[in-house]
Symmetry: C2
Subunit: 213 residues, 2 copies
């Protein structure tokens, strides 16, 4: 079962690596990192370089597609090679998934017209502008498309996918294998749960990252 | 504030990338991936290649050290260049941290003699054999050493570190920035919470990974 992780300049690492370390535990999993061209792709801060071992031409029919988000997403919303590749592989995927602002790319590729979908809370308006119907949930399943909210939500999304593919016991075993017994310090990890002051601090931190590189 | 992430063959990506995408949000953060030599380092499954931009010689005084675990950890428990580098940078770190079986490397380097520490549940006996005192908690703070349990726990560890360094509000803002509002499908992410049958399935999956490469 080939699982393709799309890489592009200034993606967010955790968006891709959360699902990677969940889905890699599946029997027969063949994860592969894909970009327009082979080579190192830098994350949003530039500090992490992840290697795309395959180019778009080399990965044409993955079983699962995972599209991460990141500060760079907006620069790819009219990047035709990326959108065309997403559209093409989506034709034969079993599941097409996104994490964070990755859903903007699915929408820009025309996969979410009028469809319910989620994204990072900071990108909801943009998702709507691209024709999708933003839903403030952590994971949204619509047909064979699964969108997840910001960054860390990819772990929950991927565990749900394991459950769909292999049942409850396998999902439980993978959850235990990655010791996913979360103990967040506060109950403020979603827009609806955070004070406006904290929301503004988070927005400022994200915007600083956007302007930094 | 330089934050050094140690890379070595067959590390687990999420162990490093969870803390990366938490700590990168700190003002003045300078994350850097370090290995014995510069170049691409492969994760446990081999599917992900992360670039070490700096060698041990080039990173001598990070403020924070993050040591990930992985299937490869055991092969480095007597790797003197790695252990010597950990010992050396620990002298001047503000915080020395580990995720998953990364604590085995701290112990092998002599940093945890008789000290309370945690690790992936599958490695507790090994941690004890290396002279530490395993504690079945998700995050254990001992002086300036923070050890975290398996894989996903690095996110909780790093958020706790943000809280210590910059206070509650910053930790809340970062938690919101990565939309960390976990919704695990089951309550079985810790050894003490899982049925024996699920534990055996998880153990088998982990062992299969160990034998695969």
């Amino acid at each position: 079962m080939q699982i393709a992780f799309l890489l592009y300049d200034r993606f967010t690492c955790l968006d891709a690596i959360g699902p990677l370390d969940v889905l890699s535990n599946l029997p027969g999993a063949e994860p592969v990192f894909v970009a327009e061209k082979r080579g190192t792709v830098r994350n949003d801060s530039g500090a992490a370089g992840l290697v795309a071992d395959r180019s778009f031409e080399e990965v044409t029919a993955p079983d699962i597609l995972v599209v991460p988000g990141g500060l760079g997403t907006q620069m790819f919303l009219d990047h035709q090679p990326t959108l065309a590749w997403i559209r093409k592989v989506h034709e034969s995927t079993k599941w097409t998934t996104s994490v964070c602002s990755g859903s903007l790319l699915l929408a820009a590729a025309g996969l979410l017209n009028g469809a319910p979908a989620t994204t990072h809370w900071i990108a909801r308006d943009l998702l709507a502008a691209l024709g999708a119907r933003p839903v403030p949930e952590r994971v949204v399943v619509h047909g064979k498309i699964i969108t997840a909210a910001g960054v860390s939500s990819g772990i929950d999304m991927a565990l749900g996918l394991v459950q769909r593919l292999h049942g409850d016991d396998m999902a439980k075993a993978v959850q235990l294998a990655i010791e996913y017994d979360p103990q967040p310090p506060f109950d403020c990890g979603a827009l609806e749960k955070a004070d406006e002051r904290i929301v503004e601090m988070a927005r400022a931190a994200l915007m600083a990252g956007l302007e930094q590189r």
